[in-house]
Symmetry: C2
Subunit: 207 residues, 2 copies
DNA sequence: TCGGAACCGTACCGTACGGTACATGAGATT
DNA sequence: AATCTCATGTACCGTACGGTACGGTTCCGA
């Protein structure tokens, strides 16, 4: 997407802070202008209108996350399994992040306007990178003979379901984040173990 | 929860229609009074304030759904498996329902106010009945020797994740509902098959 | 028949917010 | 130095909405 100037990035960062701190109602044009020491006129010049600002916040936040490409050398099954577990923990960490939750809440709350334009943006910028990383990992595992599946997307969705379950929606609904972070690795390992039971090398395909 | 009068139920039904049709912005006190042929004063007398109205909508909607208790006679494995598939399809049907999506969007959009009171209501009234039904089904299957698990809650969450994956959040974000309903049974059967791979009789426990 | 309670419809109020206009000032360019 | 560009800050406007007040009507019990 088109980049923003450093000044605009600073304003967007400030907007994200406001959104995280107080929800959508705290993100007013006047309040953002005051908090970011800019003028409302500049906001409208840069982002068009309020919806443009929200969209810019999403793309800006997405531009901050980088998907760590897996290093290709991954000889042992243990390493690969560990990579999957790391992915699972990263995924849960992202979904439980304050900014991610705030932006998802924002997009979901606006899903009835403009044909869910914000929702489409979140799906595109927020989920696609995750899926890309997961697909690369899965296909790497398949190439090395550690995994067995026919449809990469199906396998990815299964992995996602086993990892996330319904915790994302629960967090979106305001439930305090899951266990005190010592629970997270256990859940991640459990999910990966279950995934191997379904798509590990010895498993028979279900499709 | 305390019941409402028939008149109040009719007003709440009308409010749900407004919410489904136009999102939260379409649900104004004046608009509801006009649509339901009642006065704003009555709305405030009955429900206190706007938040009370939203909470009443959630409890009212929850009061409409009944969890069909499984008939205890379930001799064959095929019957039990079919019951699980029916549960899966029912679950997806509920989550994809217009009213459910609208109320979840509403609660998620307000998750930053009042300590996510609406979100807590949705979690309590919307998800607890589902889990209750699923737990009964799972434990029935375990009693009959068809399933093997130690923690019912864990097994339920696994089942939920395999069935729903991330489709709920995607729908909340405005993605049109999944395949043209002929895809749903296939997905349900696949999820159940995967669940049996993890917790079927012959499976070794992972925990 | 009277009186009160509940309710409808409408008018009203205060406020908050999105969006626009304008005056001022700082930096760069010619 | 003159000027152009860009941004700030403030003031302003229209509107929409939550919440309240009030007059009028219906219904029910005494």
């Amino acid at each position: 997407m088109e980049p923003f100037t450093p000044r605009q990035n600073a304003v967007l960062e400030c907007a994200l802070q406001l959104l995280v701190a107080g929800g959508e109602r705290a993100l007013t044009t006047a309040g953002l202008a005051r908090a970011a020491n800019c003028s409302k006129e500049s906001l409208y010049k840069w982002f068009g209108d309020r919806d443009g600002l929200l969209a810019a916040m999403i793309t800006y936040q997405a531009s901050k996350v980088r998907t760590p490409g897996p290093r290709e050398s991954m000889p042992t099954l243990e390493d690969f399994s560990r990579s999957l577990a790391v992915f699972a923990e990263d995924l849960m960490g992202v979904l439980a992040g304050e900014v991610s939750l705030a932006l998802n809440r924002l997009a979901i709350g606006q899903a009835d306007r403009d044909g869910a334009r914000l929702g489409a943006l979140v799906r595109e910028h927020g989920r696609l990178p995750i899926e890309t990383r997961a697909r690369a990992l899965l296909e790497l595992g398949r190439r090395h003979g550690y995994l067995k599946f026919s449809d990469t997307h199906e396998a990815y969705e299964t992995l996602y379901g086993l990892i996330v379950r319904d915790s994302h929606v629960r967090m979106l609904l305001g439930e305090p984040p899951v266990g005190t972070s010592d629970d997270l690795p256990r859940r991640a390992r459990l999910a990966i173990a279950q995934f191997f039971r379904l798509h590990g090398h010895g498993a028979q395909d279900i499709d």
